[in-house]
């Protein structure tokens, strides 16, 4: 059996595509504690994202981190600064395998996998497809379970 090739049409802009300057500077316009979208992520995930104290253990243990554009601990830092935009444009939440390694290891007891899910939810609830079901290559030879999980995670 050949390697599974899933063509993932990247509709979202990866943060590498952001313009210089946009990437390196961030202006806090309002108290992140009062940001509605941060609050939404807190509500969906049930996690107090502000209690992360940036030890980095989630990132050091994450099996997918090397393929991400934002490290798992940085996800919390972006949230703590109220920068949900960058997270919505990032690949990281989609690359997260939901393996729960970070959740098990976080010294604070934060469920980072749930936060990743919440960020994905924020997009999916807008009827957003991360993967286009009609454009999955070699659809016929993929094991059906892979396709099902794929759609569960990447489509509304």
């Amino acid at each position: 059996m050949g390697a599974c090739k899933v063509h993932i049409p990247i509709k979202s802009i990866s943060i590498q595509n952001l313009k210089v300057g946009e990437m390196m500077k961030y202006t806090i316009k309002k108290d992140p504690h009062k940001d509605e979208r941060v609050q939404e992520i807190i509500d969906i995930s049930g996690q107090n994202i502000f209690s992360c104290y940036q030890c980095g253990r989630c990132s050091s243990g994450c099996p997918m981190a090397e393929f991400m554009d934002i490290l798992p601990n940085q996800v919390f830092m972006f949230l703590q600064e109220g920068d949900v935009d960058t997270l919505l444009q990032a690949k990281t939440p989609w690359i997260c395998a939901a393996c729960f390694t970070c959740t098990v290891r976080c010294p604070v007891g934060l469920d980072l996998a749930a936060v990743m899910e919440a960020i994905r939810e924020l997009q999916l609830r807008k009827n957003y497809d991360y993967v286009d079901p009609y454009n999955v290559e070699e659809r016929d030879i993929l094991p059906p379970i892979a396709l099902v999980s794929n759609f569960r995670k990447f489509t509304p």
Partner: protein, 668 residues
Amino acid sequence: MAMKRIGVFICHCGRNIAGTVDVKKVAEEIGKREDVALATTYIFMCSEPGQKLIEESVKKYNLDGVVVANCSPTLHEKTMRNAAARGGLNPYRVEIANIREWAAWPHEDNPEAATRKAIRIINATIEKLKANASLEPIEVPVVRRALVIGGGVAGIQAALDLADAGIETILVEREPSIGGNMFRLSETFPTLDCPQCILTPKMNDVAQHPNIKLYTYSEVESVEGFMGNFKVKIRKKATYVDWDKCTGCGECLRVCPINVDSEFDLRMAKRKAIYIANEQAVPLKALIDENTCIRLQFEKKVKEGKIKPKKNVKICSKCADVCEPNAIHFQNNEEIVEEEVGSIIVATGFEVMPAEAFPELGGKYPDVLNSLQFERLLAPSGPTAGIPRRPSDGKVPESIAFVHCVGSRDPQSGVPYCSRICCMYTIKQAMLVKHALPSTAVYDFYIDIRSNGKGYEEFYHRAKEEYGVNFIRGKVSKIYKVGDKYRVQGVDTLTGRIVEVDVDMVILATAAKGSEGVKDLAKKLRIPYDEWGWLKETHLKLKPLETPVGGVFIAGAAQFVKDITDSVSQGSGAAAKAMALLSKPQLEKEPLLAKVDPEICAGCGRCKDQCAYGAISIDPVRHVAVVNEALCEGCGACSANCPTTAIQVVNFKKGQIIRAVDVLAEVF
């Protein structure tokens, strides 16, 4: 009489010495000397069997002198002297030959040379020892009273402990009230109790304790004498008010027309020219600031002849007019009092750098404050009743930024060390802002959070998890005004981006330093200090409360900035040290002091000029130098400068030293 039956004990120090020096060979060589009755080795001379070996050998071989070849005399000279004394030998007939630090350690790579050097060091020590005299310790009487300088929480604790132990204690505080910096605080980490509530009982105890004599608004003028017998002059500064009569009613404050910045409130509030330090001051007494009072300024100018008093012009005396008990007399009542004490505790505390010292961080703006000023704005008893307001316009801030490590950990523009308490108090202040103003946004810029005390890390987590404080990791580099706001230009090193935020107020956690003027005080006491004004302890780990001057101890933030818990512990610790000293009826002093041979002394006085302890005087009648044994520390500076060798330190006579040097230099 030179010694003839010397015992030499060579220590292996495990492998420290024996791993390099051939101790057996050393014993063999030394044993060949005619004046040596016994030369032996042992694995640890400092162990009990090692000491027993000395004790028994003294008896068995009837030794008249002992050399122990081991480590530095600072470690075990006393141990070995006591061991020999138990065997019946005068302890001053024992010398240490340091073959560990001088031979074994520096010549690890050349055991043969190390062994040769060890033999030579021992031979030189024997030559020195042979002319040692038997001596008895000198006894000096002790004044059973103590002086505590600085009435912050550390000094207060020390004074109370001493007084409770029945020791008459003098507490000198330079401000009009005791309490120190703790009394300025809003609430205290990590328990958030009210500092005034927990400190006032202690302050009142000080004022009422029958064994405590309190001098506030006073400073130490001079210190003379030595451990057990200090003579201290204290300057009580002019208050222009009779404190025996003043009831602290505050009527005078209400009528005085002059407003100036309050020292206690660190410019966050005004006070009058006649003032009481704060509402809960101990003692609660009014005093007049001679530099701002209209009347005193007028009188001064008249005295200096700068103005001529016109007739029938009434100069302000509003305060005196309303003072019921007639306490205000406008007379300069400065006074010098003298006290004798046996021990001194220095607890002069610390200060934080002013915001103005950091113009790049907006220190010149009115709404950019240092942390201690902000404590006043957060204090329920403070000028804004605990609701912080902008000094510039009285507005309640909608956003506040805190900046950690301002001047700390920054040898380029501040101090090299971490100021240790600022992470915690900044977190506390951030929490208190949230208490007072729940909707105000709080940004806390830090390099890393140092929360290493009991309950401290938990306190930090509470701020993060429950209080809604925004923590951003990175040092702020610039703060400037944009319209009505202050733009904080920082960085988030965790996401790797510059972070900018506009806020209404900025609080700088500026570096701590030793109290202003502490260096002058330290000079009077002859105790060492560092360039930042921290008083130096004798040993950072094992003697943190001691100073090189016998009988003088340090406590609290004067040694290095610390939190209240540690300051109080050190206050009690220093008091215990002083008690140990003062509980003896007599003090024993090493008899290794300078002695003058009046037959040779020419009375030139060179020795007197050299003595750092003021122990030498010239007898005007006999015209010879005289040593005050109680003051002499036996340092030998005098002896080195005497042109006639008339003054010499006992058991360090010139002949002894020269013979030892001859051996070391191998010029027989």
